[in-house]
Subunit: 346 residues, 2 copies
C-alpha cells in the first residue's frame, strides 16, 4: 500500500513550518509517500514554498479550528468534526489516509482517535508505545506510556502482542524479546495482574516473540530486551524518570565541565564525544509515539520536536502503514485466541 | 539520647571488614556513638584490629547463623532468634539499641523488622525511604521504594507524614515540600488513591510540611521538592529507572570518550569534572534506606556499599535516633488525626 499520511499541521508548540519541514525531510527518504495536510491553508501554502517536493505530493484540507494544549479531552471531542486534529483522524477513518500524525494535545488526540477509529477486534484498550534508546544494537519498544492508568492481565497480554508487532515492523526483528516491567524478577513479585499476564505469555509459544519474563527498571536500557510491557501508570513514571534522569546527568556534566578552566579546555577538545552523547539522548531521534490497537494508525509527535524529529515520526508512520501493523496484530490475536479456544483466560 | 547502633556485621556482599571500616569512619564523625556488633566474633575482632576507636565504643554479640541473599522472607523469619540480622533487630526491640543496620537481604530484613518491632500506632504499613541526589541544595527523600506493592490513600498520607519527619531530621528542613508522584499535575490525573491522598494532604495545613501537589517523573531531580511520596511499585520502578538511566548515560559517555584519541585526551584534561560527576552519582553518598513506621529504627545499607557508604548509613541511623523520628511521626499523626476527629477519612 502506498502510504498516504494525514498531518495535523497546526498542533503543538512547533507550528506549521516545523511540521512541513519534517514531512518534506521524510519525503526525501520515502519518495512514494503522499500527504494530506490539514489546517490553515494560507499558512500551510506559505510553509510549502520552501518545500516543492512536499507540495507535489500533498493535498491541503483547510480548517480554522484548532485543538489547543489547554483543551480537556471532553472539550476536544466537540472539535472532532472540524479541527485540524479531528479532520486528520477522520481521513484515516474514511480510508483516505493510512495514518494520522499530530504534535498536539496527547489526551485530546487519544480521545478523538478512540472515538473515531474504535479499538480493533480482540483489543480491549489501545496503548501508547514509543521507541527508547538502549546500549544494545536496536531501540526498545515500550508500552503503555500513559493511555491506561490501571490494567488487567488481558490488557498487558494484548500490549505484549501489539508491542511485538510494532518491534517486528519498526525494528525489523523476527522474534522480539518481550518482558514485563516489575519490581523483581522472581515469579512471586508484583501484582496479580502482572503475574497472571506472565503466566499466559510464558505459555504462548505460538506467538512470534520470545517472552523473557520480568525485568526491573535498572535493566531496561541494556539492550537485553526489545519490548517492555507495563501499565500506563508505571510506564509513564518510568519514561518520564528516564527523561528527567538523562537531563539531570547531562546538567551535572555541564556544570562539572564549566567548573574550571582546565575542565572547559578538556570539554572543547573532547567535543565530538559529547556531541555523540547528545545525539544518543536527543529525543528527536526517537520521536513518534504510536497509539496501538485502533482500527487505523495514529501517531503523536513530541510538541517540542524539531524537523528531524517530525521526519522520524513520519518515517515510523509510513513503516506501520506499509507493513500493515493492524493486520499483524489481528493475526497474532487469532493465534493466541485460537490456541486457547475453550480455555478460561487469566 | 546517646545513640547505640546494632550492626549486622555479616550481611551483604561487602563482608565484615567493610561494615567495620564504615562504622569506624562514622565513629570519627560522632564521637559519642556506641555500637553492638553482631556476628562471627573471631572475624569481627580481626576486623576491629585496624579500628581501635571503634573497638573501644563497641560490644560484640556472637552468632554463627547468617541470613543469606537467597533466603525467602519466610525462611529468614525462622532465623529471627539467632541470626546476626535477627539479633540486631532484637536489640532494638529490647531497647538496648536505638537502631539496627544491615546490608543483608532486604526482604528478610523487612519481614523480620515488621514481626519484631510491629508498626507504630497510627501507621498501617511501614515504608522504605531513601535519599536521592538532586540539582537543588539538598537531597530528596523518596518513599515507598518497594515495601508495599499496592497502597490506599491512607497509606500514602502516612508515607507523606513519615517522609516529612525524615526530611526534617536528615535534611534539617523545617517545612519540607512534599509531593505525590503522578502521571500529570492536573487534579484529575492518576488513580483514586492518589487523588484522595492529595485532597486530604491539601487540607492538612496543621502538619509541618508544605504539600505541593502532584509531580511527574521528569521533574523530581530538579530540587523543587524535598519529599516524594508514591506506592512501592511505582517507587521501585522510578528508583531503579534512575539508577539504570544514570548508568546508561555514564556508559554512553565512557564509550564516547573512548571513541577517539582526541576525546581521550580531552577526557584526561577534564578529569576533575568527570570525577565531580562521579561523586554526585556515587550511590555511596546516598547510602542507607530506612524502614519508617516501625517501633524502632531499622536501616538497610546497599549490599555493594563501600566503607564510605556504610559510614553514611550509620550517620543517618544516628541522626534518626538522636532526633527521635518515631516520636516526631507520632506527634504529626496526632495533629493530623486530631484535626480530623469525627470526619470520615478518605
Amino acid at each position: 500500500m502506498t502510504p498516504r499520511i494525514a498531518i495535523d499541521a497546526m498542533g503543538g508548540d512547533v507550528g506549521v513550518r516545523v511540521m512541513m519541514a519534517g514531512a518534506a525531510l521524510a519525503r526525501h527518504r520515502h519518495d512514494r509517500l503522499k500527504f494530506l495536510l490539514v489546517g490553515d491553508e494560507v499558512r500551510i501554502k506559505a510553509a510549502l514554498d520552501s518545500h516543492p517536493n512536499l507540495r507535489a505530493a500533498s493535498d491541503i484540507l483547510h480548517t480554522d479550528e484548532v485543538v489547543t494544549g489547554d483543551d480537556k479531552p471532553s472539550q476536544a471531542l466537540r472539535k472532532s468534526k472540524n479541527s485540524s486534529m479531528g479532520l486528520a483522524i477522520q481521513a484515516v477513518k474514511s480510508g483516505d489516509c493510512g495514518a494520522a500524525l499530530s504534535s498536539g494535545n496527547t489526551g485530546a488526540l487519544m480521545a478523538m482517535s478512540k472515538l473515531a477509529l474504535r479499538t480493533m477486534p480482540g483489543i480491549d484498550r489501545p496503548a501508547l508505545a514509543a521507541l527508547l534508546p538502549t546500549l544494545g544494537s536496536n531501540d526498545l519498544v515500550m508500552l503503555d506510556l500513559g493511555a491506561n492508568t490501571e490494567c488487567d492481565a488481558n490488557n498487558l497480554i494484548q500490549f505484549a502482542i501489539m508491542g511485538a508487532a510494532y518491534a517486528r515492523t519498526a525494528l525489523g526483528l523476527e522474534r522480539p524479546r518481550v518482558a514485563l516491567l516489575n519490581i523483581g524478577t522472581e515469579d512471586m513479585k508484583g501484582t496479580d495482574e502482572i503475574r497472571d499476564a506472565a503466566a499466559a505469555l510464558r505459555d504462548a509459544t505460538e506467538l512470534p516473540m520470545d517472552f523473557t519474563g520480568f525485568i526491573e527498571g535498572d535493566k531496561m536500557s541494556r539492550g537485553d530486551i526489545d519490548v517492555l510491557v507495563c501499565d500506563g501508570f508505571s510506564g509513564n513514571i518510568a519514561l518520564k524518570t528516564i527523561e528527567g534522569t538523562a537531563r539531570f546527568v547531562t546538567d551535572l556534566l555541564r556544570n562539572a565541565f564549566a567548573s574550571s578552566v582546565r575542565s572547559k579546555i578538556g570539554f572543547l577538545i573532547s567535543r565530538p564525544a559529547t556531541e555523540l552523547l547528545k545525539h544518543h539522548l536527543d529525543p528527536n531521534n526517537h520521536n513518534g509515539a504510536v497509539f496501538l490497537g485502533l482500527n487505523g494508525v495514529v501517531l503523536k509527535s513530541h510538541g517540542g520536536a524539531n524537523e528531524k524529529g517530525v521526519a522520524n515520526a513520519v518515517h515510523v508512520a509510513a513503516e506501520l502503514v506499509e507493513k500493515d501493523i493492524t493486520r499483524q496484530v489481528s493475526e497474532d490475536l487469532a493465534r493466541f485466541g485460537g490456541s486457547r479456544a475453550g480455555e478460561t483466560r487469566a
